[in-house]
Symmetry: D3
Subunit: 245 residues, 6 copies
């Protein structure tokens, strides 16, 4: 049930207690993939998971701008501060829960959001009247996860399957040529770079030439299945007593 | 130039300094119109204005959740606190401006956002490196503005033109029957009601039966023209010195 | 009952549940009217309303500095940020309510405060143990409201009635000569100017030569009557359940 | 120069760089003295000091509500949180300074404000474009300071001199009878009580029967003289470089 | 019971409801005493008091950085803002209380922390589920208190007793020679200086040559005894009802 | 150079620009290890690294309480909110930098702090006058890292080497018997549990019987060496231009 397109009466009639909130980012994804990659993919996975789930699942509108200051030197990158992002997500989850949809999975498409989502969902579980967990789709695609990069094979593939017109396939060679092999500049386990332009010229990490629509289809299926399994688990979870309850 | 679907390199190549940021709300719009009415209409007007403008205009992704606690008792309504909303908008405008797109019109589709947008854009103009103004489309449609209501003729018409499948035309009678004639409960010029369920049973204010796709087409044209005129004015505006400059 | 001049024991003995909180601004009002115009008028209306009301009404001390950054380039203008202003008003209303005076009308004398007062009183009604509404006196004087301006006929008249020594009648000609006809610089319904010095040389909007003590007397009577009607309505209002109750 | 009653043009014409900001509290002062005691006395001292000073001194409008939660169980006591109070004072001092009146003495009439004023004025001096210090009048009356109490001889005397109608002289006996000898409940140098109703039945500490208009006149003279000496010192003070300058 | 060195099971087994939280500062203490003087002394007094108390007392780890911006121009001085300091202390006291140790004495070794601790402990008592008071050791040593200064006889003596290696006795002469007699630059009761380098060249106030290990032993005994008396009083205190309880 | 024990003059004389800030947590570490494990280990590694580094390194006092609400149901666990923790660390790093020690490594001993430290150090690098990175010692011990757990072999070993009296070796069997094999309760890559008592009875994760003083010695050497390598890298790092510079 895509909330944006439903009337409130239809939303009310659906006997749901599960909701998914797609969360993305608007940020550079190389010369070949769109700035909205992380929103488009998060929405695609959220909708695919909700569609194939047996019980009704409320799909909230996607949060389009996240934590992306690290890409600020590439045109078109938008970002909000971590604290504002957390507050925005917490408010949206809280309003979902106020309607009885108090089991919420935040379906995330951007690595930079992960830590903030972990912090805010734990706060929600401990202090608010809702149970919420983050789910990052590219962490749930089995052995493919290791190939993630940035604007690399996974994201490019998913878009080539779900939204092929958004990808410039004729730029994949150039994207790969000027990209980086690895995220960050490392000393031991510490990344010395805070911004992505310190280690990639065109914003790409990984080789998007390894992408394909077929792989995208597989990634969507895998992540949607994983989301359904998580919906089962969240539906059945006993969150325990609230601190301020 | 719809930022979500462009690559950063294309965004960079566009020689723009104007941007529009659609801002809406996800909230009840009666039994006949979708919860996303305010986002869908803000996006439609922003895109129509940018399309017909001579110079390139960056179209940022829409902010989908705004200030709508007043509708909280109707299922599906989502909201954020005023302060979080302002902070989110300020950050997005700030990141747009960081790329040189520092003349920003916030194209708004929700009455509840107006005061907060006025506050935050004034703060941006005085204190940040950007010039920003809010533009609320239904205030810019001439004599029609007075018929606004909530989920009434104007919003319903615009959607019937731009997104007809999102409107349940077969529910217009019921929507009108259970709606209210006027927003609020008034003593003099003071509204005693803080929530919309205090004065409308189904969330509607005004008569959506007076809507039509033809009227929607006119409203889109009028508001897009007004937006173009404002783009001219904003492009030419001397914002004066910053306080913290 | 003017709280500032009562002992706590007398305040306690008064069997009141209604309170009024005057809120003004210290800001330029042209060469002829005092910087304290908005406080002096708000106090005058609040006291007049409370005096003529049948039941006891607690009159809190006036908040003297409000949201007036827009006048910052005129000497003597004082302001606080919107968020601090809201917090200050919320705290004062909360402490009034703690004594059982939990029906509070914020009597406002400054246009720049209106949006912030609407926001904070709605928050109070939804989340705190009080019912509060804002009342802006110059919006409650019937057809005169349209002549408001800034330091124009209405404010000048009210002071000429309640506090004639505070007005320099010999400067009315000059005040009118260098003032503006209209507030703001407009493109459609959007004000492009964030500060008043962008459109008025001496801070005046409207023609203060049209002021008179007689008109002031009428304005005071009208607004005090409107305030009494609102006191009735607020006394009888069922605020509904609190969100955090 | 009382800002509230001056026009901006007259304020501008005064060649001042010194300002005083009276800060009080609206809180219980026993059965005999008004809730506004701390504002009334702060204003009286500020005006007396400014009047007798040789150079022009801007007198800002008094902040009427301060830090007084400790008296919350006595009717009529109003308070704001410490952080809001500091923000309010900082904003007012900042706007005074923006007009060139950047040497500001906060003339305080309430013990509960002292620590917050010390904190906020130090922050102003280090980080803002102003030099500000707090001045608490009853700390500047020589050997009388030790008799301060609360609603005791000093405050009662000052009001009997400056505003005799505000004091119920016929209640002084009762005020003394039910008052406390000492502020707080002490273990060593630690006050175990956080609220004043824990140690005084009627809110009084000290013996207001020892008050007189004559003593009030002396207190006003002493504190106004001390304020003038401080105005000299503040005028001549080199504040050193700002941290963020 | 020093929490840092206990296992949670042993902490759980101790049948305690009293806790002490040492709070210090890392800031200049002249050429002879260590930057950590205020932490070292607060810890010493807290431990000495807990050791000699009959019932078990939880000793929390010391907060090492406090409010010390006033010493910022001396190398090694560390500080946090007042609001962050208060939040940190409030959180630590709150977590102590969550385990049933809800009678907390904040044992303070730094004058600059006193006002902030008074503010935050009052907030805790009124609004949280704990009773907390601040205790500043050098205020509890009888007639010696008047000799406090900064890096003067008291602090130097205490360290010479508890941690003699931390003091450079060979620098006491120089420390005294370049130090100041009095804290601050005064006009009446107002300190015009916000930073300590405005009135002391080497950071010292008072004469550390008057220090001795013997005096330190006496100071430790006196303050530890005073702390024990306060533990008795806090144990027996009825904090009254919570505001938000 | 352990700042706590140095005089400001000695700190000033050291020609340093590198600093390490140990950051830990006070939280349950099973029945066998102390609540202060994360502070004690962070301090040990920080000091060992600074000691063996060729150039002088300032060692700041350790932050003793971090982000540990997840252990709140085990006695003695202390925590602060994430936002307060970040603010505290930012202030301390800022004051270190003010003295010229503007290359700061935050040496961390607690997994729960990692995300917050990444956020705050990136903010410092982008916005403040310092370059800071986090370093978590147990991530820098090669193949041992995978054995981390909680109160498991690594932490227990390090303490058995650096502070053997703090470990109850006679409780290792019981610690292992009632501990958990794995942190969290997982559905795919999502941890459904927000608090550690949901999956471990005594707080232990991993098998502390596998600890030894010898392993501790190795861990200290490895992590101290890694810290030295990072000091080299941080010393040489060009942080790039500040956003607000």
């Amino acid at each position: 049930m895509e909330l944006t397109r439903e009337s409130w009466t239809d939303a009310d009639a659906a006997d749901a207690n599960l909701a998914v909130l797609p969360v993305g980012s608007t940020e550079q994804h190389g010369p070949h993939a769109p700035l909205g990659t992380d929103v488009l993919t998060a929405e695609a996975v959220a909708e695919a998971g909700a569609d194939r789930y047996d019980d009704p699942v409320v799909v909230a509108p996607a949060v389009p701008v996240g934590i992306a200051e690290e890409h600020r030197r590439f045109a078109g990158t938008l970002w909000t501060s971590e604290s504002t992002f957390r507050a925005y997500v917490r408010d949206v989850v809280g309003s979902l829960a106020s309607h009885g949809w108090d089991r919420v999975i935040v379906v995330n498409g951007h690595g930079g959001n992960i830590a903030a989502l972990k912090e805010v969902t734990a706060r929600i579980v401990r202090h608010d009247d809702a149970y919420a967990v983050p789910f990052t789709w590219f962490d749930e695609v089995g052995e493919h996860t290791s190939e993630m990069g940035h604007a690399g094979p996974l994201e490019t593939s998913l878009l080539r399957h779900t939204d092929p017109e958004s990808v410039h396939e004729d730029r994949l060679e150039a994207a790969a040529a000027d990209g980086a092999d690895r995220w960050g500049e490392w000393q031991g386990r510490v990344n010395l770079a805070v911004d992505s332009d310190e280690f990639t010229d065109n914003g790409v990490v990984g080789d998007p030439r390894e992408s394909s629509a077929e792989l995208g289809e597989e990634l969507l299926a895998k992540s949607a299945d994983a989301l359904c399994d998580l919906l089962d688990a969240v539906r059945d979870r006993d969150p325990g007593p609230r601190i301020d309850g």
